[in-house]
């Protein structure tokens, strides 16, 4: 698989061993989901309401991973430079590239005539942060990275996020809002995923 070509942000990871293990996790997730070419998979959002997952044909999953990793890593570098935060940029990069890796395992290609359309391979009982974190842990990634994957979405709302996880979380949601406005503005936002209601507590 051509992960270096599909995810050029891999080259920003300073630790060679960590980069190799990142590629291994991506490859294994794609294999479990049956993605012979994971670069074609469209972005998909699981919903909390029990409705079918929403496939976004305007953007590919790999492009979303790239965007989140790059945005989070850029923020990490700025935080280190401006306030000396000592954020581990490699962890941010790997966490960003793998934050949605569980989607490759949970979803498979719909049919030979629609290979880019992701469909669930089993009824959804464990969301992608769980499956992604489980896979990353199985394959020996650092706990700090497993934490990022596990807590990047709503599952992390009742967890103390590390600063690396916070950066990936906010990069994910911030770029999602921009992506949604730019590419699929007509789609209603699922409010269940927002915890800022705009009402003063």
């Amino acid at each position: 698989m051509k992960w270096a070509e599909w995810l050029p942000e891999l080259a920003r990871i300073g630790d060679d061993g960590l980069r190799d293990r990142t590629v291994d996790v991506l490859t294994e997730a794609a294999r479990r989901g049956g993605w012979a070419d994971p670069s074609i998979m469209w972005y998909v959002e699981e919903t909390a309401s029990g409705a079918p997952p929403a496939v976004r044909t305007e953007v590919k999953l790999v492009d979303h991973l790239r965007l989140v990793a790059a945005a989070a890593a850029d923020m990490a570098e700025q935080c280190n430079r401006v306030v000396g935060s000592r954020t581990v940029v490699d962890h941010v990069l790997v966490g960003g590239l793998l934050h949605d890796v569980g989607l490759f395992e949970l979803f498979g290609p719909k049919s030979p005539t629609e290979p880019a359309v992701p469909v669930l391979r089993q009824p959804l009982l464990l969301r992608h942060p769980y499956t992604g974190a489980r896979l990353a842990e199985e394959m020996g990634l650092p706990t700090e990275v497993v934490h990022i994957i596990a807590t990047h979405s709503v599952e992390g709302e009742h967890t103390k996020r590390s600063k690396e996880s916070a950066l990936v979380h906010w990069a994910d949601w911030a770029t999602y809002d921009v992506m949604r406005a730019a590419l699929f503005p007509h789609v209603p936002q699922e409010r269940a995923f927002y915890y800022y209601t705009g009402v003063a507590s």
Partner: protein, 443 residues
Amino acid sequence: MRVLVVYDYGGPPLSYFLPVLRARARISVYVPRPERLDPVEHALLSTGAERVLLDDDLWDRRDERETERRVVAAAQDWQADALVCFSELYATQTAGAAEKLGLRGPGTAGAARARDKLLMRDALTAGGLTNVRYRPLRSEEDIVALMSEVGGPVLIKPRRGMSAAGIQRVDRADQARQVFASARESLAGFDVPADTEGAFLVEELLRGDPDLWYPVPGFSDQVCVEGLVVAGEYVPVAITDVTPKVPPLTQSGHISPTSMDVDARRRVIDTAGRAVAALGLDTCGTHVELKLMPDGSCAVVEIAARYAGRTIIPETDFAHGCDLVGALADALLHGTCSARRFDPGSEPSRAAATVHLYGSECLGPHRTPVRFGGFAVHPAELLDRTVRIAGYAERERGWVVEDRVHEQPYWLAQLHLQGTSLVELRDSVRRVRRELQLVPEEE
């Protein structure tokens, strides 16, 4: 009367067949893989069926015995008088369930022969039909051996595939290992057997000659026959012509009714009848694919114990004024045949076609990769006056047209055409294929 539909990917559109069935019986739909339904399917099922059973338990969906057991349970719960399944993936399980319940169906033996290409070949051989040379495929040695025997290229096919997935051509012996690996890999992610030993067969690549079969150009060397079997009696209903493939194996579309002359039609129907008889089917829809050989005979490519997928059934119904879904329902519910048998001498007054256009055909002077920015002319401007667009889809602006060996999933546009003149419909199809060119998206 009550019908249980086993619903999954494949067959005529849900919006097409549900109303037809609902007008004949009370409908319950059993969905073995509800996690794969999209919102449109959910909506159609909820409004089109009296009851929908979404089986969202955790179970191995590749376990055919378990699937059959669940279909039986759903049918018993609904007190079904008939089982209907248009999906290739669940055809044998539904057939088994029907047999267990004493309901009409293709029969488990016939369904198994239709589902498994190796069993199909064996049955055709036993039935004395013109057959390709073939053998089970366990390693690349089998590929090389067959190539040596036939003296030319061969096709690797999964025994129990779907939608032409995994079918690949081997031109040289030194390609055998790589192509076999590629074929297995291409099936990953679909619930069809690919990794088990003996999951593939290799067969001779047939070369037909459409010029010997058609009075006009513009057709491939392959043809389909739509029909059904009612209590063991085969009823052919229509011949579907196939337009030439986009190299190497990408399907480009089909047209109904056929443009063959009467004698050719008779030969096609005769072969289809003998092929279906060789499988020993009882009651089911059928879709037979034949190769039009240079010696005037037809070779069997494939027989399915179910109707064709997507648009072929609606096209056939429109062109021939028939109701294939209704006929199947009547056969399964009552054992009667309400379908009109194909008359080789008839000339229907309407025609329909599906056209799939691919990036490689529409590049014009441009080179890949290129972002799709629409077409230079609208497809409607290339049609004759007697042809209307019944359906149309094109990729969004910015879609990247790239070089691909297998273009089938990466169509650029799809047209569904209807008309009152077969000649003008054919001309329209040719004009669209020849003249439609893409325009690169402006940066």
